[in-house]
Symmetry: none
Subunit: 208 residues, 2 copies
Amino acid sequence: MRVLLADDHQIVREGLRGLLEKAGHTVVGEAANGHEALKMARTLAPDIAVLDLSMPLLNGLDAAREIRRLSPEIKIILLTMYTDRGYVLQALKAGAKGYVLKTQAAEDLIRAIREICRGEVYLSPGVAASVVDAYLDKTDEAADPLTPRERQILQLIAEGKPTKEVAALLNISFKTAESHRSHIMKKLGIHEVTALVRYAIQQGLLRP
Amino acid sequence: MRVLLADDHQIVREGLRGLLEKAGHTVVGEAANGHEALKMARTLAPDIAVLDLSMPLLNGLDAAREIRRLSPEIKIILLTMYTDRGYVLQALKAGAKGYVLKTQAAEDLIRAIREICRGEVYLSPGVAASVVDAYLDKTDEAADPLTPRERQILQLIAEGKPTKEVAALLNISFKTAESHRSHIMKKLGIHEVTALVRYAIQQGLLRP
DNA sequence: CGCAAAATCAGGGATTCAACTGATTACTGC
DNA sequence: GCAGTAATCAGTTGAATCCCTGATTTTGCG
């Protein structure tokens, strides 16, 4: 398979190249950010693009959307460290055929490539559950899962305000604030305040 | 050289292993977090430990400090994506002999190992400037009010572990963990977990 | 050796949170 | 108009947190 590799860490790219070539694939190009990946996807016409999720200039998700728009025949695998449900669902919506965790063995990536070439979809163990949950919940939360009100409350929570203060600030009852909080956590599949803070930071609701 | 590899992404470890072995080194062990790295450093007696900076349970910096304390003969290289001056200085203070950026070529890591075995210190291009600046400024900003133990506990808390789990992971009593937590909050003048998370992220103990 | 800081452990009380179930009102889209 | 979603409010239970007070042991350093 002709593979395009995109990751902002050159040392990681080189390592991945070694792993892929050992498995019999050809790495036709290496990109250090989403823009490069986009350009290379057009010019090199790879069979598969393996994209890191967090890259400078253009992240893996948006790069995937663009590649899919311009060259729908290129299969896309997101390779990342994030297990968050939101990312997984967004990736699938963006048309990615695979979502592989960096914490998995290289074997997992190889298998993903094999399955995807057969027309299958591949998800690393550990994220498949997210998709099942989302299906069962039926709450389509891939694109901007939270309502404006919920985002507002999330931000206050992440800023460290206790629930009763959130309620006071928004002129709503304590119970309502608590209810929103529950919904947010349920939607995001998050069970700790700490993960909430990281999510808020990632969403740009908050500065570290 | 007998090398110990520590990075929380298995797929990255496997890639690095390939690169190092191609360069004639032997990877005697792979660790997925700071704790494992510590254990392996003791049992496997590697010549060099290559540590990722941000790892769960115990980060690369604190792992480096511990390894240095227990086995000063093991040379340590921090391998990371962060160019921030603070990290570089802390790494050097922790006794690391090398600071290599993941954005560099694999060649850079190989060269670092070679230089360090000769007794030299190696810094990736791009971070050397930080050290010079720090020397010129003379403002010692590697300072961190927290003790190593406290940082370790802060990291676990920020990762979302409840106190009793922190205690279990460190083999200390629930009350001790709680006590550390209090001290941390008191020292930092912080009263919410959320601010703790942001502090941990700023300190690089944790990824957003 | 002796001081100071760090790390360990313990109890108790007030507050807060998580997770559920269940309900009413209002706006929006088809 | 009617369904769906958002936003609002309420109660309960068990768990976890924050903050205080105290104590012992280990460790590092002069």
